[in-house]
């Protein structure tokens, strides 16, 4: 019974992890930028959901509809006005730039929201479903479903749309993409905006489940890293696979080795993956 419960927990959690990671993966895979501000975006999204619920009485499902465009515009502008200036610079420069941005955003959130933890409590609470002895919280189920839907939407966008192809093309060879008539700057901005929008939506969903504080941003970022590598950079379905794998490892690890070792285990797994299979679970060979 415990085994089944842990398995179910991991599946649900894995989808949430995927949701956390997917925007990060997109920006990394496409722009070749390790976006350190991602964690703070998620937290900002969570605050948005919290604020909308507590002061406007708006349920998180509507908050999703606000968060997506708002974060898209925010991300778009950030890329257009700032990141685009250094996008051709080496990896470390963009990384440091997002580090600086994260310092600012995180500090601003601490200043404005204070560092203490908030919690979005739905009224009435959604409760849990239990089948035999296996329990699944409803809010997690809903968040999982939304995460899957978002993931699928992104997958369609990248795979089927022209913009999606352009996004990938730009990432692979900027100058060749210019030759194809792609407006590189706006593609970058769109990709970053998408990443931000996904982070914002992830934040809204996380608000249902985790306490909200600017300080959790690094935990989100850490998960995003691991999931992204396990699953394969820039790969949407990979993020899902990576998320579930990570959640499974953590769950099983914490039952058999103790929760403190679960984190170690996940990072060891990460290193092993990097060394033996850098393209990740579903990443395609030949990337980078």
């Amino acid at each position: 019974m415990l085994a089944i419960q842990v398995l179910i927990n991991a599946l649900v959690l894995g989808c949430l992890y995927a949701c956390i990671a997917i925007g990060f993966s997109l920006v990394w895979g496409v722009l070749n930028v390790i976006n350190l501000i991602h964690g703070s975006f998620i937290v900002l999204g969570a605050y948005l959901a919290w604020g909308a619920y507590n002061s406007l009485g708006l349920s998180p499902w509507y908050a999703l509809l606000i968060a997506a465009p708002a974060f898209f515009v925010f991300g778009y502008l950030l890329q257009r006005l700032l990141l685009n200036r250094v996008i051709t610079a080496p990896v470390l420069v963009t990384l440091t730039l997002t580090f600086g941005l994260d310092l600012i955003l995180n500090n601003a959130m601490i200043y404005y929201f204070k560092a203490d933890y908030r919690k979005l409590i739905l009224n009435p609470p959604t409760g849990s479903i239990s089948i035999f002895d296996v329990v699944v919280p409803v809010d997690r189920l809903i968040a999982t479903a939304s995460a899957l839907a978002l993931t699928f939407l992104l997958y369609l966008l990248l795979r089927r749309s022209k913009v999606g192809r352009a996004i990938v093309a730009v990432r692979l060879d900027r100058d060749a993409a210019v030759l194809m008539g792609v407006d590189v700057k706006s593609i970058y901005a769109i990709a970053f905006g998408l990443g931000a929008a996904l982070a914002g939506c992830a934040g809204v969903l996380m608000a249902l489940i985790f306490p909200i504080s600017p300080l959790t941003s690094s935990a989100y970022l850490g998960k995003a890293f691991v999931v992204c590598v396990l699953g394969g950079l820039g790969s949407v379905s990979g993020a899902l696979a990576g998320g579930i794998l990570l959640a499974l490892v953590e769950g099983v690890g914490s039952v058999y080795l103790g929760p403190a070792h679960a984190v170690t285990l996940s990072f060891v797994l990460l290193i092993i993956f990097l060394v033996v299979r850098p393209q990740g679970l579903l990443g395609r060979k030949g990337f980078e």
């Binding site: 500090n107 560092a115 929760p259 403190a260």
Partner: protein, 381 residues
């Protein structure tokens, strides 16, 4: 850092705070406590040093929840900002690290939030602390549970892998074993753990009647929520320090019901102190007026640290650090915080920390009997 008044009639206190980083919420509490005291002291004209009144000035700095920074800022305050006395940084780890600096410069340091005996076992002369050792929290708890819930046989302990939460969990393990309870689960969770569902499922499968969890407020909120999600029930659920904090009670809402805890102080206490705040009730009132919220032990400890410095200085009649240190070492006085007397290692040994439980959304004191407000209730759903 602070506006410098004419240096003559000011006493400067250094207070390193973790204003940013993971401990930031704690910084707010400490600062509120210190500020309230400084405001009261200055309202009364200042601290009386041999007939002359000195205004209180507190120099704050941010050590970013980073222990080395707390050491650095302590040294900076002593040598650059020329503070007369020091408050300790938050928590046991940083207090321990920073106390070496205070010791080197022979500056008295009052630590408001350091309880682990490892902080004091260095036998420093200039370090004092207002938290009793951790076992003074776990022993009365265990005894209470033993007395009121005889059928509690199995306990599961889950602790954050961090100095204070881990130390208190280890004390709990000891006192559980000493009282004949079976510890069916004892594990630490890593500091940045985002999800506890696997751990909780495992604990649930072990059917403990008592679940004991330590951690910071966010950890405890998360764990509590996941316990509810997993439909985990137990006779007794204890969380340290969560329920001592108003924000835990508010955020946990209905799910906080019947959760027990222990802490070094509780606003329901009724001491009649000789310090600037006088009675506990007066402190609570002043605090509520200023901040519009219920004080918890972290607020109170910070404030009492200020009040203790004030008493020691006034008694010494001098700003001489060694004289003030000697007064602190000799101190034996009742305050709104309780009776204060420091042991040879500098840690307070005169307190009897209260045990309490959330009932109908309010913390209700169960122990000691002198300030008892209600009966222990079993069953947490």
């Amino acid at each position: 850092t602070s506006s410098v008044a004419s240096a003559q009639d000011v006493i400067r206190f250094g207070a390193p705070l973790p204003i940013t980083g993971p401990l930031a919420p704690e910084a707010v509490k400490q600062q509120q406590g210190y500020d309230l005291w400084a405001e009261q002291a200055n309202k009364a004209g200042g601290i009386d040093v041999g007939g002359k009144k000195y205004k209180v000035e507190i120099v704050y700095s941010d050590y970013q929840s980073n222990t080395p920074r707390s050491v650095q800022t302590t040294e900076q305050m002593i040598t650059q900002d020329k503070v007369n006395f020091m408050f300790g940084p938050f928590g046991s780890g940083a207090a321990k690290a920073a106390s070496t600096i205070a010791e080197k410069y022979k500056v008295p340091m009052l630590a408001a939030t350091a309880s682990s005996s490892q902080v004091y076992d260095q036998n420093y002369k200039y370090l004092f602390g207002t938290f009793t050792p951790n076992d003074t929290l776990t022993t009365p708890l265990t005894q209470l549970v033993k007395a009121k819930a005889a059928d509690v046989k199995k306990i599961a302990i889950l602790a954050r892998n961090d100095l204070f939460p881990l130390a208190i969990a280890q004390e709990m393990e000891k006192s559980a074993k000493a009282n004949g309870l079976e510890v069916v689960y004892f594990e630490k969770y890593a500091i940045n753990t985002l999800d506890h569902s696997a751990t909780l499922s495992q604990i649930k499968s072990l059917n403990p009647q008592w679940v004991f969890v330590t951690g910071y407020t966010n950890d405890l909120l998360l764990i509590r929520k996941q316990m509810v999600d997993q439909q985990m029930k137990a006779g007794v659920v204890t969380m340290i320090a969560g329920p001592a904090y108003q924000e835990f009670i508010e955020s946990a809402g209905q799910s906080a019901e019947n959760i027990s805890s222990a802490s070094w102080w509780h606003p329901a206490e009724q001491y009649n102190g000789k310090d600037i705040f006088g009675t506990t009730a007066n402190f609570v009132k002043l605090f509520k007026d200023k901040y519009k919220l219920e004080p918890d032990y972290a607020h109170a400890s910070a404030a009492v640290c200020g009040a203790l410095f004030q008493m020691a200085i006034e008694k010494a009649g001098s700003l001489d650090r060694d004289k003030v240190r000697d007064e602190l070492a000799k101190m034996d006085v009742v305050t709104f915080w309780g009776p204060v007397k420091f042991g040879a290692n500098g840690q307070i040994n005169s307190l009897e920390p209260p045990v309490f439980q959330i009932q109908a959304g309010k913390p209700v004191v169960l122990f000691p009997d002198a300030i008892k407000q209600g009966e222990f209730k079993l069953g947490v759903n």
